[in-house]
Every structure is written in structure tokens, then in C-alpha cells.
């Protein structure tokens, strides 16, 4: 065995072509809080998908016999195997309704973020790439929207749709994610514009321009793919705020419409008879808190993983 062979170790397996995404994934898995967030979010997502099959009851079914047998009062938790967490006054199973709430919250959060990306990314990209009058007009508009109190705007928007067919669509959820998306795209537009501005004069963009690639193609093929990291972080941090906004709206009675219920709506229903049956609010509150913690931890970890500068903030 010659000396040169010893000084040249073989490339470590699997490390030959480490992409930045693989690096970020590895950094995420090294972060304990991030893994916890990933597990919580993954669990809730799974619950949202398979909820209808594993929930002991349909969220709409009223087990009135059980309520009548209990002296016309809702069943307390852990009193029967049939309704493990008890029922509400209409005999609907609280465990099942809390499980169904996962689907409501996850759907709203995801689709609201889709709306945010669909509005914010193109507007931000145009503002950053074109600059000039178009760019400053877009930015002025986002500045105005940024100054408009968010919850106020969402409540106003939801009221536009109350009583219209759009409001009955998806038990009122359609209106909720449109309203949340329409108010939250501003941050995304600002972020994408800043990214595009910083990438606009880099060599690879100049090179693409020099060989005559049309502008829209440079933006979609070369500029935006390099801005995916910050967009992913913004989306993941936007998810808990969307869940929070949805539960707040539902708590005010403006969100999801009966018989469907989100965690916010379940808490609101529970407050009606808080003194007699306080345990009704516990499962949805725990679920909501768990979701918010999970998404926050995951978002923080993603930001640390995708932004090396911030990594020591962990």
C-alpha cells in the first residue's frame, strides 16, 4: 500500500453530491426542537387525512339516547367507552369532533398559504424584477395593506360573504382561507421582492440575459428557484398564524359553519355552559395548543436549517 493511497480517503458514501436541500434536511434532523415539531405536525397531518376512518363517530352524529339516559346532560369524559372524551349537549362525540378539527385547521392553513404564494410571489417578483413605476406602485400598495390591521380586514372580508353561496361552500371554510390569504400575501410579496432584487444582478442572471433568454423565463427558471428557501420558511411560519386566525374567526362565529367545527368553534361552543361542563373545552384547546407549538417549532427549525447565518440563534 503506497503512501498516496493513504492520504486520499475514498469519498464518504452518500456525500458525493450533497445538495443544499439535503444539508438543510440534515440540519433539521439534528435540531431536537425541529424534530419534535416535525413529529407533531406530521401526526396532525396524518390525523387530518385518516381522521374520518379512525374517529369513533361521525362528527355530525347525535347520540341523543346517551344524552337522554344521562338525564338530558352531556356525557362527561371517561364515563363510557363509547364516548371516551364525552359528548356535547346534542350528543356529538367530542373526541371525534376534535379529530375532525385537525382536518379543518390543516386545510385552512395549507390553502391560505397557497393563496399567499399565488398572490405574493408573482407580485413580489414583478416588483423586484421590473422595478420602475410598476414596481413602486405594487410596493406602495403592499405598504398600505401592511398598515391595515389584519384581523379587521379579515373580519370585514368574511362579512362580505355571509349569507352568499360562497359562504356555504365547504361549511364557510372557503371564505376563511380566501380572507386569510388576501390579508397575509403582503409579507410574502415584500420578501420575494427583496430576494429578486438581491439576485437580479448576479452573474448567472447576467449570463442568461446575455445569451438572450427572455425576462419572464429568467425570473421563473433562474431567479425564483434561488429564492425558494426563504419562501419555504415564510410559508412554514405563516401556517401557525393562519391556524390562529382561523380559530379566532371561528371563535367569533365567523369561521367554519355548523355542523362542521374547528377547534376555535369547539372552544366557543364549550364556553356556552362553561360552569356546568368545563371539560368540553379541554380537548380542542389542547389540540390547538399542540398544533401551534408544533408549527412554530418546525418553522423555527426550518429557518435555522435554511439560513446558515441564523443557525447559532438556535
Amino acid at each position: 500500500m503506497s503512501e498516496s493511497e493513504l492520504t486520499l480517503p475514498p469519498p464518504a458514501e452518500g456525500h458525493a453530491h450533497r445538495s443544499p436541500w439535503a444539508d438543510a434536511g440534515r440540519a433539521l434532523l439534528r435540531n431536537r426542537a425541529g424534530v419534535a415539531g416535525l413529529v407533531i405536525v406530521g401526526g396532525l397531518a396524518l390525523l387530518a387525512v385518516i381522521g374520518p376512518w379512525i374517529a369513533p363517530w361521525d362528527y355530525r352524529v347525535q347520540d341523543l339516547e346517551a344524552v337522554l339516559a344521562n338525564g338530558n346532560r352531556p356525557l362527561p369524559p371517561f364515563a363510557s367507552w363509547e364516548h371516551l372524551l364525552g359528548t356535547d349537549r346534542l350528543g356529538r362525540d367530542i373526541l371525534s369532533r376534535t379529530i375532525d378539527g385537525a382536518q379543518v385547521s390543516m386545510t385552512v392553513a395549507l390553502i391560505a398559504q397557497v393563496v399567499v404564494v399565488l398572490i405574493g410571489v408573482p407580485l413580489g417578483a414583478i416588483a423586484g424584477w421590473r422595478g420602475g413605476r410598476t414596481g413602486s406602485l405594487i410596493m406602495r400598495f403592499t405598504d398600505v395593506m401592511y398598515a391595515f390591521p389584519e384581523l379587521l380586514f379579515i373580519i370585514l372580508l368574511v362579512y362580505v360573504f355571509v349569507g352568499t353561496p360562497a359562504h356555504r361552500f365547504l361549511n364557510g371554510l372557503f371564505v376563511v382561507f380566501v380572507a386569510i390569504g388576501l390579508s397575509a400575501w403582503v409579507t410574502m410579496a415584500r420578501l420575494v421582492r427583496a430576494q429578486v432584487l438581491s439576485l437580479k444582478h448576479r452573474e448567472f442572471v447576467e449570463a442568461a440575459r446575455a445569451v438572450g433568454v427572455p425576462g419572464w423565463k429568467i425570473v421563473t427558471r433562474h431567479v425564483l428557484p434561488n429564492a425558494v428557501g426563504p419562501v419555504v420558511v415564510a410559508v412554514s411560519l405563516g401556517l401557525p398564524s393562519a391556524i390562529l386566525a382561523e380559530s379566532t374567526l371561528s371563535f367569533l362565529g365567523l369561521g367554519v359553519q355548523p355542523p362542521r367545527a374547528s377547534w376555535g368553534a369547539l372552544i366557543e361552543q364549550g364556553t356556552e355552559h362553561l360552569d356546568l361542563y368545563p371539560w368540553q373545552v379541554v380537548p380542542p384547546m389542547l389540540a390547538l395548543a399542540l398544533a401551534l407549538v408544533g408549527f412554530t417549532l418546525l418553522g423555527d427549525a426550518l429557518r435555522d436549517a435554511l439560513d446558515p447565518r441564523a443557525s447559532r440563534r438556535r
Binding site: R140, F141, D143, V144, Y146, A147, F148, P149, E150, L151, L152, F153, I155, L156, L157, Y159, V160, F161, V162, G163, T164, P240, L244, S247, T248, F251, L252, G264, I267, G270, T271, L274, D275, P278, V281, M285, L288, A289, L290, L292, V293, T296, L297, A310, R312, R313
Partner: protein
């Protein structure tokens, strides 16, 4: 600095103008009218009311009338059967909302900043994890959920004044202030704590801190004079958005604790399509948020000259 300040103040005009136009359009786009009730009113009565309140005119004319009134300090009268000046409604409810929001903001700062500082100074230890964990719990407690828990655990149950510590609802003496203030302060407290911690960790390794160490400056003096002072600068940037969160966040808290603040009057106005109250209250909210953001920008521009030159 002066031109920057003037430009920034003048910018309030277009912001509030567009905000009020948007509110106006969304509001009139919504189905329904202030005169909807059961049994329905006679069409002649509705026409008469529309005429009395100027709702029969074209939209742009209605808006201009409202706008010219506002510029003269007149917010119009509530679109109700027993109209009162919207200015009076705001004058009664705004102080309550400001009071609640202000107390919650101070509480959030007083808890959040020390929590973040302590966490950063003990980076990676049990103390850090405990403080960060506490802050994460604050993120997980929406004001309405925390409010319900507080009412249940610390409030008087109905007809049992002897149990519990504070009234569950209402707004009067200081005993009414405690629960809603805590409920409203939790989320901003958590955000301030997390932001302070990150900001402190940024300065902990800064050159000037190392220099201070090598000069032999006492440890507590380094923390107070060199670290916290510099770490607080970025925190100033989030206070603007946080004030907005406090103001609009109090809508839910006011509803839950039955506090006669501006948030509650906004919810009632929107429910009964009280157009003038919606417009007036929304404008005050937008103005409050815009002014808060402006003050933060001005303070930041004063501290960091690079901001002004944009």
C-alpha cells in the same frame, strides 16, 4: 433626517385614504343593509331611511360626503334608529381599548424582555430551555383560549362571589383589568421574549463585547451597558406590528370579557351593518396602526442613519 421625517408623516395620508376606500367598498359590497330586520320594514320606510342617511346616492358621492365630514372632524351619525354621533361612540370606546392594549403591552415588555435576556445569558442551559419553553407556551395560547382558562380558574363563577379572585366579565375597577390584560399579553410576551433572546445572542459574540471583557469591564456592566442596549434596537422594529396585534387582538378579548371597547363596538356595528360606525372605527384602527408603525420607523431612522437614505 427632517426630510425623511416629513416624507414619512405625509405617507400617512395615502395609507389612510386607501384603507378607508377599501373599507368602504368591502362594506357596501357585503349583502344586507342597516334596515334589515324581522318583520321586514315597509319599502317606503326603507326608502325614507335611505334618503335620510344619504344611502340612496351613488357610492362615490356617499364616500366623498363621509370623507369631507371626517376632514372637518365629523364622523357622521350611527346608522341606527336612534342615531348618535359616531365621534361619541369612538370617544367612549377608544380610551377603554387603549387602556387595555397599553396595559397588555407594558406587561408583555416587562415579562418578555427579561425572559429573553435571561435565556440568552444562560444559552444552552436548563434556564434557557425553561425560559424558551415558557415563551413557546405563550405562542400556543391564543388570547381567547387563555381567556377562557383564566375565567374558569381565577374568575368568580356566576352567583358565587366568594369563589375565585376576579370578575369574569365587565369593565370597571382594577379587579376587571387583570384577566383580560393577561389574556391579551401572552402572545406578544412570547414573541418579545423570543426576539430578545435571538437579538441578545447576536450581540453576545460582538467585537465590542469582547473588547469590553478584555478591558476588564465588570460583567453586569457589560450586560446592561453594552449588550442589552444594542440588543434592544431591533426589538424596537417589532413593537410597531405588536401594537397593531394588541389593538386588533383586543377585539376578541373584548368580546370574551364583555368589555365595552372599540373592538366590541366594531363587531356589533358589522353585525347590524352600521355603516358609519364601521367606517369610523376602522379608520381609527388603521390610523392607530399607521401612526405606531410611523413612530417605530422614525425612531429607527434616528438610531440607524442607513434607513433614511432609502
Amino acid at each position: 433626517m427632517l426630510t425623511y421625517a416629513v416624507r414619512r408623516v405625509l405617507w400617512l395620508g395615502p395609507v389612510l385614504f386607501v384603507a378607508s376606500v377599501l373599507t368602504f367598498l368591502i362594506m357596501h359590497w357585503a349583502p344586507g343593509s342597516p334596515w334589515l330586520q324581522w318583520p321586514p320594514l315597509e319599502p317606503e320606510t326603507v326608502a325614507k331611511l335611505d334618503q335620510q342617511f344619504g344611502l340612496d346616492r351613488p357610492l362615490h358621492e356617499q364616500y366623498l360626503r363621509w370623507m369631507s365630514g371626517v376632514l372637518r372632524g365629523d364622523f357622521g351619525e350611527t346608522t341606527q334608529f336612534d342615531p348618535v354621533p359616531v365621534g361619541d361612540v369612538i370617544a367612549h370606546t377608544l380610551p377603554i381599548s387603549l387602556h387595555l392594549g397599553g396595559m397588555a403591552f407594558v406587561l408583555a415588555l416587562l415579562l418578555g424582555v427579561p425572559l429573553g435576556v435571561v435565556a440568552a445569558l444562560n444559552h444552552g442551559t436548563v434556564i434557557d430551555y425553561a425560559a424558551t419553553g415558557f415563551a413557546i407556551l405563550g405562542m400556543a395560547a391564543p388570547s381567547f383560549a387563555l381567556g377562557v382558562v383564566l375565567q374558569l380558574t381565577l374568575g368568580h363563577p356566576p352567583f358565587h362571589e366568594e369563589i375565585g379572585f376576579f370578575p369574569r366579565t365587565g369593565w370597571g375597577g382594577p379587579e376587571h383589568w387583570v384577566l383580560p390584560t393577561i389574556a391579551l399579553a401572552a402572545l406578544p410576551m412570547a414573541q418579545i421574549a423570543r426576539f430578545t433572546r435571538a437579538s441578545m445572542l447576536d450581540v453576545i459574540h460582538a467585537d465590542y463585547v469582547r473588547t469590553a471583557h478584555s478591558k476588564g469591564v465588570p460583567e453586569d456592566r457589560i450586560v446592561t451597558r453594552h449588550m442589552i442596549r444594542n440588543a434592544l434596537i431591533p426589538i424596537a422594529t417589532i413593537t410597531g406590528p405588536l401594537l397593531a396585534v394588541m389593538l386588533t387582538g383586543s377585539i376578541v378579548v373584548e368580546r370574551l370579557f364583555e368589555i365595552p371597547g372599540m373592538g366590541n363596538s366594531f363587531l356589533f356595528a358589522i353585525q347590524f351593518r352600521d355603516y358609519t360606525t364601521i367606517m369610523g372605527v376602522a379608520l381609527v384602527y388603521a390610523a392607530a396602526v399607521a401612526v405606531a408603525n410611523m413612530l417605530v420607523d422614525l425612531a429607527y431612522g434616528y438610531i440607524d442613519p442607513r434607513i433614511r437614505d432609502h
